[in-house]
Symmetry: D2
Subunit: 202 residues, 4 copies
């Protein structure tokens, strides 16, 4: 395989990228001068050097972001957050979305994926051991918020975790269903409408 095909093949494994766009990326790199490619390879190498995974929430962060030298991210290291709540999200990018929304002040755990329906080996899909360690470590957790996408895989993942920890003195919650911004009644499904009514704001 020549290097055009090789690099196309690697770009083609990027999320959401098909073979045609992968090839466009390669020709784009070729058409830029050498500096651009050097800049790109350097940034990829720096990424692997500078970014470490938080020992507590498992998210990737820039080391040492908070100047303490520990392998713990700035959020997990922040004592002022609410230690009674742990929110479990599937991926780093979901964590970013929730944290940016500004409504939540507890801690997080990045599950690393979801458990699809009928998955036979769920523990290979998500960081279940790391989650167990995280929960054991912190004695203050009272509520675990299972912040999953509002689809079948999300619901299955939430169900899987709940069953895993049945019996522990923990309260589980899931994100509220209702009308997303922009939603129209006419096109909303019954489940969403029912919840929108139940969770109405007075």
């Amino acid at each position: 395989m020549n290097s055009i095909d090789k690099l196309s093949e690697i770009f083609g494994r990027f999320p959401g990228i098909g073979p045609r766009q992968a090839k466009r990326f390669v020709y784009f790199l070729l058409s830029r001068n050498g500096n651009y490619a050097s800049e790109l390879t350097k940034a990829i190498q720096d990424l692997k050097k500078e970014i470490i995974q938080c020992e507590e929430c498992m998210r990737f962060f820039v080391y040492p972001e908070h100047g303490r030298g520990a392998k713990v991210c700035s959020i997990c290291a922040d004592d002022t957050r609410d230690s009674s709540m742990l929110m479990i999200v599937p991926r780093d990018i979901d964590f970013e979305a929730v944290e940016k929304s500004g409504g939540y002040k507890g801690y997080y755990f990045i599950l690393g994926g979801v458990v699809p329906i009928l998955e036979k080996e769920p523990e290979k899909r998500i960081r279940i051991k790391e989650l167990e360690a995280r929960i054991k470590k912190s004695k203050n957790i009272k509520e675990i918020i299972l912040a999953m996408n509002a689809n079948l895989d999300g619901e299955n993942t939430a169900e899987f975790i709940k069953q895993k920890y049945e019996g522990l003195p923990l309260e589980f919650s899931t994100l509220g269903r209702g009308l997303s911004t922009g939603a129209e009644l006419e096109y909303a499904d019954p489940e969403t409408l029912k919840n929108a009514f139940l969770h109405r704001t007075k």
Copy 2:
């Protein structure tokens, strides 16, 4: 204007139909035999004969749907529903969606439209007099649910109605915001995520 153009023009006023599709409708009618067109005109004429507008909720219904002869639809005529709640929806089709979802057991009022932002004559857009009459008539109403689409016009309409009835001993509520079925955290807006957290289900 010949009758092809005339009928195209009328179909072109249907919601969501552009000139090209309007013309396809006309040719579709032409290509079907005469029975089809007769069937269509008969159904339109029957519609105007059989369907009346409920005096209370203003929705269109088949007369006499519930065998009582009054100009009141089967829902407004149903004494077993919860008379402490009145849900205001923009259009008949929104009423259908909510009623089908099965979560709500009170009464309805069909507003007939929404009040767009910066609208100078809101009373021309919605059935405000009829709403006033409806509210006065029923002494039991305690809560008015403003069931609007989760967009700017919907919010503006809810705000307009609330201000109109300020001072009356009525509680106003709006539909709960949260994750619609299928929503993904990554693509949810901050408002939706904040509400999904606030309205989480335990």
Copy 3:
């Protein structure tokens, strides 16, 4: 079935209209005053009265469009057009598109449909008898242009007609393939590119 459901069902048979949009049409009619529905039924009835099908090309036209009283449309009645060419198009709307483009000055025949691949009774799908009559009638035709959509059904229809008239002293042609306006080389299929090269303009 009540008249809302009945009319929804009829609108639902319109090309490209699903059950939900069909219902929106019904509520749209209900929400307009009576004049609108009368205007619509009148236009449908006028359509059936005023529009007749041309005996020669089979297209629908306003009678008597050209003031001659014959059951022949203005194009078939126009002696100045080129009688050596007959263009066969699938539907009235295709005829309109070609005639508007202004490049063609011969006569037309509206086939009334296409012959899908594997169709067992092609003669039920298209006006094959009428086409035969049309071809016999005019002694001057030298070229038949099979103006079909550039897809499998179009090609199959062209093939079907060609075989039907094999042996007759007629030349058959099909529309030229090449780059449609807006087409990009990168996304063009090999067939299109090959033809674009073959039919290049000097």
Copy 4:
């Protein structure tokens, strides 16, 4: 800027990639083990080492593709092709599409871009000097095929090149317009229909 943001910014300059997808790429890289990132950086470095630009047609190719050691690609080095024709295409990926289609057997020149309408410095957008050198070098060229996208920029580029070489004993051609594969008469623009008729195949 930390390395997550830096790499996001670089990926964000890839064609068709917005900030959100750029970030997904970064998290994708982080979530894969170290080998993947090494494989990617190696492939990028190899690309810059192995791929050179053909001195004649300016396309990127794997050196030495054809075992001759010259800085000339396998197509430009192929004496059996038709030296009377030179096809000018905007980009490498357009060359690939045309060559794959199999219809053309002459030589190519990759222009490196297009000249947008109203561009004040066209010579900065395309390889005009290299084109001049290429044309001078080969005495056999009789026809130059301006194989541009069928849009305004494509037409403008073709026009620009034609004017540039006015007076030279060269024939210019452009790709044929007509129905692209899949095109439907109803939706085709007048220009396309006119050309489809003119270039009909007998």
